[in-house]
């Protein structure tokens, strides 16, 4: 079946502009996650959606960042008034969260954001 897809794959924007990044999770996965990754570094958690529960926004770095998940499927991460420090790869993952505690996450290819 289809994996997690993200669009665009690359985005170059000017400082101060708003950007929207899209994630299509694996069909049937109840959980969706956004992460940020700087070059060669680990993953920085941003936000987590699980079913109909309120999202866990504890990782969002500022109020310029927001995300929504419509109909329990597609998610959009929005960054307003972009800054150069926002330049990174934004990764989306989805998971079928079970009580067994495996939480196996499947990642998309990422969106590389460059703010000039």
């Amino acid at each position: 079946g289809a994996g997690v897809s993200q669009s665009p794959s690359n985005k170059v924007t000017e400082k101060g502009k708003d950007v929207e990044l899209r994630c299509d999770p694996i069909s049937g996965h109840t959980a969706l996650y956004w992460y940020r990754q700087s070059l060669g570094q680990g993953l920085e958690f941003l936000i987590y959606f699980q079913g109909n529960s309120a999202p866990d926004k504890s990782g969002l770095p500022s109020d310029r960042f927001s995300a929504e998940r419509t109909g329990g499927s597609v998610s959009t991460l929005t960054i307003q008034r972009t800054q150069q420090e926002d330049s990174a790869v934004y990764l989306c993952a989805s998971s079928l969260v079970t009580s067994g505690g495996k939480y196996e996450q499947y990642f998309g290819p990422g969106t590389r954001l460059t703010v000039t």
Binding site: D56, S95, V97, G100, Y103, E104, Q105, P109
Partner: protein
């Protein structure tokens, strides 16, 4: 807050050598996963371990979960250039806790295997 310390951060070896990457925490995890990421791609799940003391093998890769479910190791035998990449460990929180459904990621190990 659950933290995972991964070591070493960088590893540069010759083809044919063996290596071990460690992932340690003071917290107990319900599961521990290892991912491998190549440049320009998202991380790919290699293995999940859930039982203390569990050992899983994937060809030349051996994964172990500590008895207390606080640490894990990844051992690669006879490394090959195709093993080059970023290796990430990630721990799953316990059901009912604030981290339920989330993974805590280690900082990653960048492995380079030279021909």
């Amino acid at each position: 807050t659950q933290l995972l310390e991964q070591s070493p951060q960088f590893l540069s070896i010759q083809e044919g050598e063996n290596l071990t990457v460690y992932c340690n925490s003071s917290s107990v995890f319900s599961s521990l996963q290892w991912y491998r990421q190549e440049p320009g791609e998202g991380p790919v799940l290699l293995v999940t371990v859930v039982t203390g003391g569990e050992v899983k093998k994937l060809k030349r890769l051996t994964f172990q979960f500590g008895d207390a479910r606080k640490d894990s190791s990844l051992h690669i035998t006879a490394a090959q250039p195709g093993d080059t990449g970023l290796y990430l460990c990630a721990g799953g929180g316990s059901a009912g806790g604030t981290s339920y459904g989330k993974l805590t990621f280690g900082q990653g190990t960048i492995l380079t295997v030279h021909p």
